[in-house]
C-alpha cells in the first residue's frame, strides 16, 4: 500500500535518513522503535510528506507522490497523522475539530459529518465532551480526540508519532487502550512508540531504526525476544532496564 524507495533525508548537513526501502501492507500494524534522534519521526513524516525527502520516492497505492498541492492533499486525506503533542485546533470545540476535515476536504454535509464524528468520539470515549473547547481537556483526553479526528477522515492508514510520550503517566493507559481498540478494527497503522507493552499487543511487524537506517525489520513481535542484530539487543536492554 505504501512504499518508500531509496529515501534519503538531509537536514542542513546532517543525514537523517539514508537508504530507506520499506513497504507497508494493507491491514498491517507496523511499530517503529529506536533511540532518540534515529529518524523515526522523520520517516513517519516522510510518508505523508510533512517532510519532503531529499532523495527517493514515496508510492501510495502504486502512485508516485508528486511534490505538488493536489497530489499531497490526496495523499494526506488517506494517510493522516496523530502527533505526540496532539495539535488539536485550539479555537474549536471537540466536535468541530472532528468535522473540519470531513466538511472542508471530503465535502460531507454537516449533519453527516457530525453523526460520523460522534460515532468516532464514542469509540474513543469522548462523545460526552463534544462541546468542550479542547484546551479544557486533559492530555489523555486530547490525544483520544486527536485519534477520533484522524478516524473521521476514514483514512487508509493512520500514522502515530509517539502518541503517549507527552502524557502524564496515569493517562498513558487510556490512550494505549484506545489505540489497541482502533488496531483491532483492521486499520493499517504505522506507529512510533516507546511503549513496549503497546507494541507487543498490536504489532504485526516491528522495525528497529538507528542513525537514520532500518537496522532490523521483523514479522510479529519476535524482535523483543530474539533480536538478531547487536544494536537492537543493546537498545532493547537499555529500554527494559
Amino acid at each position: 500500500m505504501i512504499e518508500l524507495k531509496n529515501i534519503e533525508k538531509v537536514f542542513d548537513d546532517t543525514v537523517v535518513l539514508k537508504n530507506i526501502n520499506v513497504t507497508f501492507k494493507k491491514g498491517e500494524v507496523t511499530v517503529i522503535i529506536g533511540p532518540s534522534g534515529s529518524g523515526k519521526s522523520t520517516l513517519l513524516r516522510t510518508i505523508n510528506w510533512l517532510e519532503k525527502p531529499t532523495q527517493g520516492d514515496v508510492y501510495f497505492e502504486k502512485e508516485r507522490v508528486q511534490n505538488q498541492a493536489s497530489s499531497l492533499e490526496t495523499l494526506r486525506t488517506q494517510a493522516t497523522m496523530v502527533f505526540q503533542a496532539f495539535h488539536l485546533f485550539n479555537h474549536l470545540t471537540v466536535l468541530k475539530n472532528c468535522t473540519l476535515g470531513p466538511i472542508k476536504v471530503l465535502k460531507q454535509a454537516r449533519h453527516v459529518a457530525e453523526a460520523y464524528a460522534l460515532e468516532q468520539l464514542k469509540k474513543v470515549g469522548m462523545d460526552a465532551y463534544k462541546d468542550r473547547l479542547v484546551n479544557t481537556l486533559s492530555g489523555g483526553q486530547k490525544q483520544r480526540v486527536a485519534i477520533a479526528r484522524a478516524l473521521t477522515m476514514a483514512p487508509k492508514v493512520i500514522l502515530f508519532d509517539e502518541p503517549t510520550s507527552a502524557l502524564d503517566i496515569e493517562m498513558v493507559q487510556e490512550v494505549v487502550e484506545t489505540i489497541k481498540h482502533v488496531a483491532s478494527e483492521g486499520l493499517t497503522m504505522v506507529l512510533v512508540t516507546h511503549e513496549i507493552e503497546l507494541a507487543k499487543a498490536i504489532a504485526d511487524r516491528v522495525i528497529f531504526m538507528d542513525q537514520g537506517e532500518i537496522v532490523e525489520d521483523r514479522k510479529n513481535t519476535d524482535i523483543f525476544t530474539q533480536p538478531k542484530m547487536e544494536r537492537t539487543k543493546q537498545f532493547l536492554q537499555k529500554i527494559t532496564h
Binding site: 505538488q68 498541492a69 495539535h87 485546533f89 479526528r149 477522515m153
Partner: protein, 240 residues
Amino acid sequence: MFLASFFSNIVTMFQNNYDLFFYGLRMTLILAFVGTGVGLLIALVLAYVKVQEITTSQRFKAFLQRILQGFAYGYVGFFRGTPMIVQAMLFYYGMQRMGFDIRVLTAGLIVVSLNTAAYLTEVIRSGLNSLDKGQKEAGLSLGLSMRQVYILILYPQALKNMIPAIGNELVVNIKDTAVLSVIGVSELFYMGRRVGSASYLFTEAFIIVSVMYLVIVSIAMTMLHRLGNGNPRKRERVMP
C-alpha cells in the same frame, strides 16, 4: 482677565464653527476606520504571501510565488520606510499626472489603507509565526490545502492575539491621518487650520482640535481595552 477672554474666545469659536469641527472629526474617523479595515484585509493577503515557504516542484508556481513575495517585501519596505505625508503627495499628484481626476478624500482613503496594510502585515506575520507549527501540520495532515489551513485554522487563532495591535493601529490612524490635510482632505486638523486662519486665533482653534482628538482617542482606547480583556474593571483590580 486675559484667561477669561481666552476661554470665552474658545467657546465662541466652537459655537460658531462646531459644524466645521464635527465635519472634520467625521472625516478623521472615516479615514481611520476605513483605513484600518481595508488595511487589515490587504495585510491578511500580504502576510499570507510573505510567510509562504516555497516548496512546490512546479516551476511556474514557484516562480509566481517568488514574484509575489518580492512584491510584498518591496511594498512593506516602501510604506514603512517613507513618511505617510510623502506617500500622500506622491499618490495624489502622481494620479493627477497620469490623468486620473481623483477626489482628495478617495486619495486619502487609499493612502491610509495602503500605509496601514504595510504595518499590519508585519503584525500579522509575527502573530502567525508565534503559533505552534503543529497547528499547520495538523491541518495539512487532514488534507486541507494551504489556503484552507490559513483561513480556517491559523488566522482565527492569530487574529485573536492581534486585537490589541490592530486597535493600536486604529488609534495611530486617528492621529496620523492629520497629515492627509497636505493634499486637502478636510479632516480635523485641516478644519482647525481653516477656522484658525479665518480669525487668526490659531491657538484657540488647536486647543479645540486637541480636545476633540483626545476625547475620541480615549473612547477608542477604552473600547479596545474592553474588547481585549472582557471586563476592564476586573483587570484594574489585579494591577499593582
